[in-house]
Subunit: 229 residues, 2 copies
DNA sequence: GAACCAACTTAATGTTTTCTTAAGATTCTC
DNA sequence: GAGAATCTTAAGAAAACATTAAGTTGGTTC
């Protein structure tokens, strides 16, 4: 279940506020209207927000003041929506900490797209899917179902091959020596003269290559080890 | 030392490209110009980027195609900079995965402010300088992924060369005698008549010089040893 | 409990890359 | 300018890796 996304809409014109709230709601987020700087301030203190849509010209506290506070105290992304269209203002607010600046009159669709864009990026970080699914390029691996696909088509791996791939995909681009691999997966000390890991890598490679001949996923670094690439 | 931020500037008009690169550089990031979709694609595969500035109308691959790939494969933020100013395009690309859309002709200050804004947000989340990364001037070395770059472009080193460079970069001002180097890396006693270290240093130097001819990184102190410079 | 099967390991062989050696060229110090 | 230290180059040696096939093991089925 996804966490609900709360958006605070700060705008004194009640028609525009309503319109913005509609846009937000239609995108599947929860909107809260605030009609003055001081009102917005109360809401900010009261709960956490995932996004603030902020007009600059407001009764009570100005948008600039609010922006400053949000930046100092919270880390919420802020999209400015303002009729002030001088470049000066735009640049100043972006530098002060705004994440975007939309000029009035605005295009509803664009506002919606920009909100989604920011939320998409924000959610990717703040809510890092604690999932059991790993991806790397076209590769997908599900830890739970042990399912591995490339471009959607299934690749059948043995237990060891799966474990190695999972290890690699857990730390993409990290270089693993044979000893690293052996000790992580077999849980015993690595004796230098062992070729086992090499054979598994070879088999794994040929299965991956069969599924996607265009891409080499496992790279050899001579004298150092292997890494996903 | 902060991690350096690498920005890929994809734009076929060389004047505009230059201008954008200047903006990026002035903000303290490292810019790499790409003049076609296919060229950009090569750079994307070659290293990780923190931001892509992307024109839509490009020879080779279109901006839209690149955007799609970046979204599927990487997680890099993308700012579209385009002359196509129909709302349709704007909304479509934002929905496809772009993080921002700037219309040409653009205001340099605004571009700069928007880049900074995205990087500020992005950097807050992405790893706060992992300690396995060493930096010296334009040189970057990652102990974990064994990646070495100069100004963002990859330098391929062998195991020994990497080990020597890592040793030097770990103690940037220290002077290492041949014996020091040999004993740290080979873990055996140094017999004076050995030229091995010298050969490795020579090879290492020539690889570094190929990547950045302007700078000599390894200095010889006659009769004493070597040191990073 | 014997036969079978799949996955794993070991072993053998071939290939590729890197390392070392050695010799001549160069550079620096006195 | 002589001598010593260092640099460069190239080629042979050595190490690391890849692949294939043959043996082992452990579990499943009849």
């Amino acid at each position: 279940m996804d966490k609900k996304i709360h958006v605070l809409v700060v705008e004194d014109d009640s028609d525009i506020n309503k319109l913005l709230c509609t846009v937000v709601t239609k995108s599947g987020y929860i909107a809260q209207a605030a009609y003055s700087g001081t009102e917005a301030n109360l809401y900010l203190d009261r709960q956490e927000w995932d996004l603030v849509l902020l007009d600059l010209m407001l009764p009570g506290l100005t948008g600039e003041q609010l922006l400053e506070k949000i930046n100092e105290v919270f880390r919420t992304p802020v999209i400015i929506i303002s009729a002030k269209d001088e470049q000066q203002t735009k640049i100043a607010t972006l530098r002060t900490g705004a994440d975007d600046f939309i000029t009035k009159p605005f295009d509803i669709e664009e506002v919606s797209a920009r909100i989604d864009s920011h939320m998409r990026r924000y959610m990717r970080f703040s809510n890092p899917t604690p999932s059991n699914r790993l991806t790397y390029k076209e590769l997908e691996l599900d830890k739970e179902t042990k399912f591995v696909t490339i471009n959607g088509s299934e690749v059948t791996l043995t237990a060891r091959e799966f474990a190695i791939l999972e290890l690699f995909m857990s730390y993409p681009k990290k270089v693993f020596s044979k000893a690293n691999v052996f000790e992580s997966i077999w849980n015993e000390e690595f004796m230098g003269d062992d070729n086992t890991v090499g054979v598994h890598i070879s088999n794994l490679r040929s299965k991956l290559a069969k599924a996607n001949p265009k891409q080499e996923y496992i790279e050899t670094l001579w004298g150092m080890g292997y890494r996903l690439r």
